[in-house]
């Protein structure tokens, strides 16, 4: 059994607090995504790292990028994305600088449209994104839901979750994916999952992603700490994440018995 969220933190490894900006939680919240924020808080506790979750309610507010290393854009309804792009467009350069300096942005599912070059809709207005990721998105005729299993390209970390695909993603040549599929649909059945530019990560993965994959949560916190100037390495103790690991064992077995996605 994993340890519960601790009231008192174990040995503090960094002096600073990592502030996680929870982007527009009442707008971007579709598939239990608040679990990702709970996971960052919990994993921070397990690591002995103070983590503060800060809600940003409106895209018209200036982005507080100076004191925060991590922004989480959860899955949201596709109809909301165009408005978010419009509202964030005046801050595009600041976001780009944040990404280039190693700041972490996690964009999940349809929120990828905010960072894509363009999104082609079938049932609404097509629109341009901020273009921080070199990819096009395309609304599907039918929703596709399934498990997803892949390895992260940069670290080889194995990641499990679910996917509710409303948009297919087509990466431009030269645009790095976030992962390589072991099972599932991923971006567009090309064997690739998500996209990555430095620490700007787009993924189709739900679950919630960071609840099911606490090592990825630790990795994101570590990158956020680096951005804030702390040279730390975070590593979770296996005994703290036994539930997650046992869950992964069961789901790996379940997936192994399924036919490949055709």
């Amino acid at each position: 059994m994993p340890a519960p969220i601790r009231d008192s933190l174990p040995e503090v490894k960094t002096k600073m607090k990592i502030i996680v900006n929870w982007m527009y939680p009442d707008v971007l919240h579709l598939h239990g995504d608040r679990g990702n924020l709970m996971a960052l808080k919990r994993v921070g506790g397990l690591l002995g790292q103070e983590v503060e979750i800060r809600r940003l309610e409106s895209p018209k507010e200036a982005l507080p990028l100076e004191d925060s290393g991590l922004l989480v854009f959860s899955a949201g309804e596709l109809r909301c994305m165009e408005g978010l792009v419009e509202a964030l467009a005046p801050q595009k350069e600041a976001l780009e600088r944040f990404v280039e300096k190693g700041g972490v942005i996690l964009a999940i599912a349809a929120s990828g449209a905010i960072f894509a070059r363009h999104t082609q809709r079938k049932f609404g207005n097509s629109f341009a994104g901020l273009g921080l990721l070199d990819m096009e998105m395309e609304e599907r005729e039918q929703v596709y839901g399934d498990d997803i299993h892949f390895t992260e390209e940069e670290t080889g970390l194995e990641i499990l979750g679910n996917q509710i695909q409303i948009l297919d993603t087509h990466l431009a040549p030269g645009q790095a994916p976030f992962g390589s599929l072991l099972y599932g649909y991923g971006n567009d059945k090309t064997g690739k999952e998500g996209a990555r530019r430095k620490n700007l990560i787009f993924t189709n993965t739900l679950g919630p992603l960071l609840v099911k994959n606490p090592r990825l949560a630790a990795e994101l916190l570590e990158q956020a700490a680096h951005y804030l100037g702390e040279d730390v390495r975070f590593s979770l103790r296996e005994e703290d994440i036994r539930l997650e690991d046992r869950s992964a064992d069961l789901i790996r077995r379940f997936i192994a018995a399924k036919p490949a996605v055709s």
Binding site: P4, D26, G32, E77, G145, N162, P259
Partner: protein
Amino acid sequence: MGKLRFLLALAAGKGLARAINLIDPSRGSNLPGELALKLDPDFIRHIKGPVREKTIFVTGTNGKSTTTNLIATLFRAAGVSAAVNLEGANLKAGVAATLLKNTTLGGKLKTEYIIMETDERYLPIIQKELPCGQLLVTNIQKDQVQRNGEPDLIWRKISSVIDPETKLYVNNEEPYCAALAEQAGKALRYSVDAHDKSFTKLSFYTTTMPCPCCGSPIRFEKYNIDNVGNFHCTGCGFSSAEKPEYKLEQISYAEHSAVLASPKGEIALPFKYDAPYFLYCYAGALAVALENGLPVERVVQGCGEFVNIGGRMEDIQAGSKTIHYLRMKQENPETLQSALDYIAADPKRKIFMLGLDELTDFHPHYTNTFYAFDCDLEKLVQSNVERFICFSGTVSYDAALRLVYAGADPERITVLPTNDDKTILDELARWDADTVYLITWLHKFYDLSKYARTHQGQSAGGEN
């Protein structure tokens, strides 16, 4: 040729319906319709006599069956005949089956009204065959995301059937429904006033929803049920109407009574079922009944007579323990939240069994449990639970994790990575508590129920 084909389809469907009724009346609500549609794909269109103004559809995510049954009860109490798909067969075949049972051998409708629960995804298809003149929408919420993706997809489907001839009834306090009224231009809003069971949400992790009109955050003043309550948009000012046409007020759970404020004046009403979501079913059904001119005294009588079909709670006797099973719809956070809240409201020392499992409604089967993170489990976790038992061959550890995230002590959680009935009930037998609650899929409830019946005394409390 077309007429002959229709009559043949009708006769075959009626024959099959009669045969099924003789063998097992509880089965076969779809089959006669499937047969009729196979023999005549235009079977529904060929039925003579439906009047659009008297064809009422009930659609939405949750509460369709209860609302339809309640409307049917009110019409019956008023002596008005109606063809109703009471068994919840709400796809095209179910509609066809209901119609064929209510037509003459010549294919003429025998009833004055048609009242149909219709699946929200199939509504546009059914509407093409059988245009409704009155449409009641219960709510549009997250549900079956593997095929629905997001509520907006359902909103668009429902919206597509509304035309100037449609009399639209919408839930005033559910934002997506209320946005349908905005789009339609005219609609009748039914409403429930804040009551003793209304609540606020103050947790840091509380989320609401984007405005259906402009995408800005919606704020709820109070919730009558999850994601339903008086609301306003922080961006465009869109809000629940201050003066809805039909509103249940002065709600007394102690006396099971309320007052309906309506264009016909204030009407005192009894209500039997006091789960808050029933109040919206009552309000919607009453609006339909009164708009169709049913006499007020008959409507009041009908409210008192209403008996809900297929309730959401059933019991299993397992050894000396009674397990209270609460039904939820798969991938539907609102029904899971209702079940969790019901359990949390019981202060007795209890065992809570949670059997979320992989989803098998559609292909490919998959292991989604993320809807549980849309629900608040903290109250349940703090409600005197002696033991949590999570079982499932695939997602038992994920269910346990959700409980841990809600503050459950891991030492109080048993995880059974199996669906084996004996293992589950043997684990239950190890623990002592007055009350046992179970949330799982319906088929698993039937399995456990059957096992407990045939092995009573060997498991679940037999040793205690």
